[in-house]
Each structure stands twice: as structure tokens, then as C-alpha cells.
Amino acid sequence: MAVTESAPPAALDLGPDTLLEMYRAMVLGRLLDERIIILNRQGRAPFAISGQGHEATQVGVGYALRRDYDWAVPYYRDLSLVLVMGMSPLDQLLAALGKAGDPNSGGRQMPAHYSSRAHNIVTGGSPVATQILHAVGVGLAFRYRGEDRVVVTACGEGGTSEGDWHEGLNWAAVHRLPVIFLVENNGFAISVPQARQMAVAHVTDRAAGYGLPGVCVDGGDVLAVHQVAVEAVARARRGEGPTLIEAHCVRLQSHSSDDDQRRYRAPDDLRDLRSHDPLDRFRVDLEAAGILSPERAAAVRADCLAEIDRAQQIADEAPAPDPATALHHVHQEG
């Protein structure tokens, strides 16, 4: 039940290939995120919500999962997580533009409502924290069938205030289910700062009250997050039950394209944000370890951009949903 304030600094022993893969995943998430914001500013994507600043957390957790075996019940900031789990930039660009081929929802939901049955990414709606309970149910099904799969579900620190969050952690603890509750704590729920959201410094202060371990980690440190996630996954796979992971992140962008954080955040605070960019941190670490060179970093960036460009071209040309289909799939048909 011990709450570790922060995981011990993770060694770079994953091997250079994996580390570079993880780096690329973060870059891809970031660049795709930026592209969607551009599409929004151009008036082509009606809505954008950004995961910038959360990439290290999501990639760290994503790389602890077994792809197409474990499950995720994500939330709207989890762009990098769903990319790691197997979804593509094209999948998300189709969603941003509301195209028929959008695998998340066929253009029915707002972008960032990630879903892919093929990749075990559970469909989500917009209400905050409802997904927490779904993850518990998924874990229940795994346990019932005797599978050693693990499910991870994520929300923000604001989401922890909802009753569903409480009910989910409690249920998972009582039944020792293989669920990892990830809280991506960026200090704000739209405009509401953490101090108006809870009277404690760490969401993990709640773990002991449910009877599960809580680990608080620097969410800008991809390897620290990864290590914590690997341990939680191993624990869950061994049948020892759920873990609460709180990753402290920064929200580099406003809450969404409908928000302007300059209205409620101090200029100093905003200026300071960039120095916490997890991408920069990982790049510097990898360069210091001799795994990444500036040239290689530029190549990764170019490669990701090319992938996104190709995807955007396809998405641009993809057809809008056929109006006739709007009435389909309320119930199973045929």
C-alpha cells in the first residue's frame, strides 16, 4: 500500500531501438497534434483538443502494454497512447475532418473520442470519468475468463472528483481486478486549478483509502513513467490487483480550441510551461546518452511529418459520411 512519491530514475536499459521507437512515438503524437490544431485554425477541423505535454506519460504507459492483447479505455488527451496501441495518424485525421472512414466513430463523434475494437481501444463518450467504470468491467471479464490481460484507463485530475471515479477504484480494489487507473494530472480542469478540485497535493493520497497501491510519477519523464507502468502491469497480470498511477503533466495548449488559457493562467505560469516540454527532455537525455544525434532527431521529425502529410492527403480526399447512414446502428441491424 506504500505510496512512492516518484519512481527511481529509470535506467536507459530498454535498448536503443526501443528508446528511439518511443522517441518517435512522442514526436509523432506531437506533430499530429499540432497538425490537427492547424486544421482547426484553418477552419477545416471544427474542434481540436490537445495532448501536448502529456506525450511522455502516454508513451511510457503504452510501451508497458502488450499490443493487441491488453486493453485501453482512454480519454480525449490520449492521442499518443492510442497511436502506440496501433491506431494511425490517418485514423485521427479522418476523425478531425469528420469523414466516413473515421474508425473511431464514422464521423459521428467529435475528434479525440478514440475507439478501435481491432486494437482493444474502448469507445468513449464525452462525459468525464464514466469510462473508469467500463475499465473495471473489462477487468472483470478478463478475470472471469481467466485471461492475464490488463486494462488501463485514463482521466485528468479533474475527473477524479466524479463519483464514477470513486466507485470504480473501490470496485476494482474489492475484486482485485487487473486495472490500471492512470491520472494525467496537468493541474487544471479547463480553468479550475487543482486547489479548487481537491484539498490534497496528490491524487495518489487516495490510493490507501481504497486498498490499492498509488504511485506518483513525473509525467514528463517517459522512462520513469514506463518503469512505474511496467510494475503495475506485472502486478495486475500476476492477479494482484489494480494500481493507481498519477503522472504530473503539463498542459501546453489551452483546454481545447474553444478555450483560451490566457484568460485564467498567470503569464509567468504560461511562460514556464515550455521549459517542461517532455519532448525536449527526452531528446536531451537521449542525446546525452549518445543514442540520438541532432541529425537523427531531425530525420525522425521529417519522417513523422511525411507520414502525417501522406495521411492528411488521404483524409482530405476521403468522402464525408453518406447522410443516409445517419439513421443506422442505433441497434444491431439485420
Binding site: W71, V73, D102, P103, N104, S105, G106, G107, R108, Q109, H113, S115, S116, R117, V122, T123, G125, P127, T130, I132, L133, H134, A135, V136, G137, V138, G139, L140, A141, F142, R143, Y144, R145, G163, D164, E167, G168, N170, W171, V174, H175, H328, H329, V330, H331, Q332
Partner: protein, 324 residues
């Protein structure tokens, strides 16, 4: 009727091991009305789960299990205690197939006892009939059986349905029928009404416990040669539109009766369908009977009587309509 529910659950659980049951006190105690009695003994801890006291989690966890391939039955102890789970039902279960463009589905049965009556004494919070709140929601099916046979057959259909079904069992019916459960496989399709009594002069559309009050009233009028057809809607979403329209056109005088509050109730939808589709065949105004404009059935018998829609009030309504 409680026996019918229990039997349907047990038989289907034997047939399909994806079915699990969860809710408050459904295990050792077998449910506060005994609807899950014996299941825990037969199917064990993993399939019959005494949940924490938290309705959103009962439904929300069931949704997750359904997404992952099980077929959960979420029991809510009383329908009055569904509102904490409303978000999970309305915003999640009902929309999962649609919002994922058919990629995901949510086969889930939400069972709850509903309704009251003069002798149920459940007062404001153990007596409500809230089906209209669910009947308004695309993506849900809403079923209210009135007989043991239908309870078994419709619950079996619900347990085999690929989408979420709300299954509401009227408490007054639980012990009202004994030993009338059809043996063996018995499936009644969701969405079809049933003629509980044929007639030609008036038709009464109704469901749940009010079917029996309506039959009693119809019988009394029958003695005087006024033949009332009583139609048990059985499913209030989707309504059996075809049956409603055909019957209303054929008979021409329509009463809609239910225990739930009248204003904005299921009866309004039935009446509106009739008003729109049967205009030229109507021989009188579409009449509705339902609960008065108070929150639910009060505790004291003298007050409860004011709420309850019994055979007498239905008979009076039918007579007014007959005289029109």
C-alpha cells in the same frame, strides 16, 4: 412472477456462460424479492456478484463487461434507485453502438422492480414507475411484463438481445401468480404487444400491473355488453406501432392507462401516435389515465389510494368513453 424471472435467469445462465448477474444483495440473500435466489449457490461468486452499494458502478461495470464480451445482468434493487446510474444508462449504454458506428455493442440487461400500490407501502421511493424516462431514449429497449409467461419469455429475449434492455418488474405482480411459469425454452419477442382480451367497442392500451386492473374493469363492462379490448403493450420502447394503429383504427375509441405519472408518460406517446395516424377512424377523443401530478405514491393508505390507478378509475374512464 418472481419465479418466472428466477427461472429465466437460471436457464439462460446454464445455456450461456457469458451471462453474469450483479447487484446489491443478489448473492447469498438472493435479492430483496428473491429474484436471484439459488443463483449464487449454483453459479458461484464469479457469476453472481454482490456489488458495492453504488448503482452507477453496477451499470458502468456491467457495460465494461459487456464491451469485453460478457452478457451482464445489472440488478438495481428498486427502480427508484436507478437515477444514480442514469448517466451510465443514457449517456453510455444507449449510445455505444451508435457512437462507435457499429464497432462496439453493449448487450446488457438492467433489471429493476418498479411500481407500487395501496398495499405495497413503499412510499415515495419504493413505488415509482419511471419507464418514460427510458422510453424517450434511442438506443434502449424498455420492457414491462405483466404475466409470468411474458416475464420468462421477454427476459429470455432480453438476455439474448445484442443491445441494452431495461427490464422492469412490477412488485405487485411478483407474488400475484404462482406456478404459472411455462416450462422449457420460452422466448417472447421484444417490441410486440399482446391482446390480453379481445373486444370491439373500446380499446385500452396499457402495460404492467395496470393490465390486470384494466382487465377487471373490462370484465365489468363486458357484463353489460360493452366489449373492451385490452392490449398489453409489454414493450414501451420500441412501441408496437403497427398494433396500436391497427387496433385504434379498427375500434375507434381509445383509452391509454398506466400507473406512471400521466404528464409526459408513455401514454402521451401512444395517444399522440393514435391522434396522428388514426384521425379519420376515431369516434371520440383519445383518453388517458395515469398517476396524478404528485411525485409518487405516498405511504399512508388514505393518500396512496389517491395515486393508484385501480379498476374503478379505469372503469369510470371506459364508461365516459363508451358514452361519448
Amino acid at each position: 412472477m418472481v419465479e418466472a424471472v428466477r427461472t429465466a435467469l437460471a436457464e439462460e445462465m446454464r445455456r450461456d456462460d457469458r451471462i453474469i448477474v450483479m447487484g446489491e444483495d443478489v448473492g447469498l440473500k438472493g435479492g430483496v424479492f428473491g429474484a436471484t435466489q439459488g443463483l449464487h449457490q449454483e453459479f458461484g461468486d464469479l457469476r453472481v456478484i454482490d456489488s458495492p452499494l453504488a448503482e452507477a458502478s453496477i451499470v458502468g461495470v456491467a457495460i465494461g463487461a459487456a464491451l469485453a464480451g460478457l452478457r451482464p445482468v445489472a440488478e438495481i434493487q428498486f427502480q427508484d434507485f436507478i437515477p444514480p446510474a442514469m448517466d451510465q444508462i443514457l449517456s453510455e449504454a444507449a449510445k455505444i453502438r451508435y457512437r462507435s458506428n457499429n464497432d462496439w455493442s453493449c448487450p446488457l440487461v438492467i433489471r429493476a422492480p418498479c411500481g407500487g400500490g395501496v398495499h405495497v407501502h413503499g412510499a415515495l421511493y419504493h413505488s415509482q414507475s419511471l419507464e418514460a424516462l427510458f422510453a424517450h431514449v434511442p438506443g434502449l429497449k424498455v420492457v414491462l411484463p405483466s404475466t409470468p409467461g411474458d416475464a420468462k419469455g421477454l427476459l429470455t429475449a432480453a438476455l439474448r438481445d445484442p443491445d441494452p434492455v431495461c427490464f422492469f418488474e412490477h412488485k405487485a405482480l411478483y407474488r400475484a401468480f404462482k406456478g404459472e411459469v411455462p416450462a422449457g425454452e420460452h422466448v417472447v419477442p421484444i417490441g410486440r404487444a399482446r391482446v390480453a382480451r379481445p373486444g370491439r367497442d373500446l380499446v385500452c392500451f396499457t402495460y404492467g400491473a395496470t393490465v390486470h386492473e384494466s382487465l377487471r374493469a373490462a370484465e365489468r363492462l363486458g357484463l353489460e355488453g360493452i366489449e373492451v379490448e385490452v392490449v398489453d403493450l409489454r414493450t414501451v420502447r420500441p412501441l408496437d406501432r403497427e398494433c396500436i394503429v391497427e387496433t385504434a383504427r379498427r375500434i375507434g375509441k381509445v383509452l391509454v392507462a398506466h400507473e406512471a405519472n400521466l404528464a409526459g408518460g408513455v401514454g402521451a406517446e401512444v395517444a399522440a401516435i393514435v391522434a396522428e395516424e388514426c384521425f379519420e377512424s376515431l369516434d371520440g377523443p383519445v383518453m388517458r389515465l395515469g398517476g396524478p401530478e404528485i411525485p409518487a405514491i405516498p405511504f399512508a393508505e388514505s393518500l396512496a389510494e389517491v395515486y393508484y390507478l385501480g379498476a374503478d378509475r379505469i372503469e369510470a374512464g371506459l364508461r365516459r368513453l363508451a358514452a361519448y
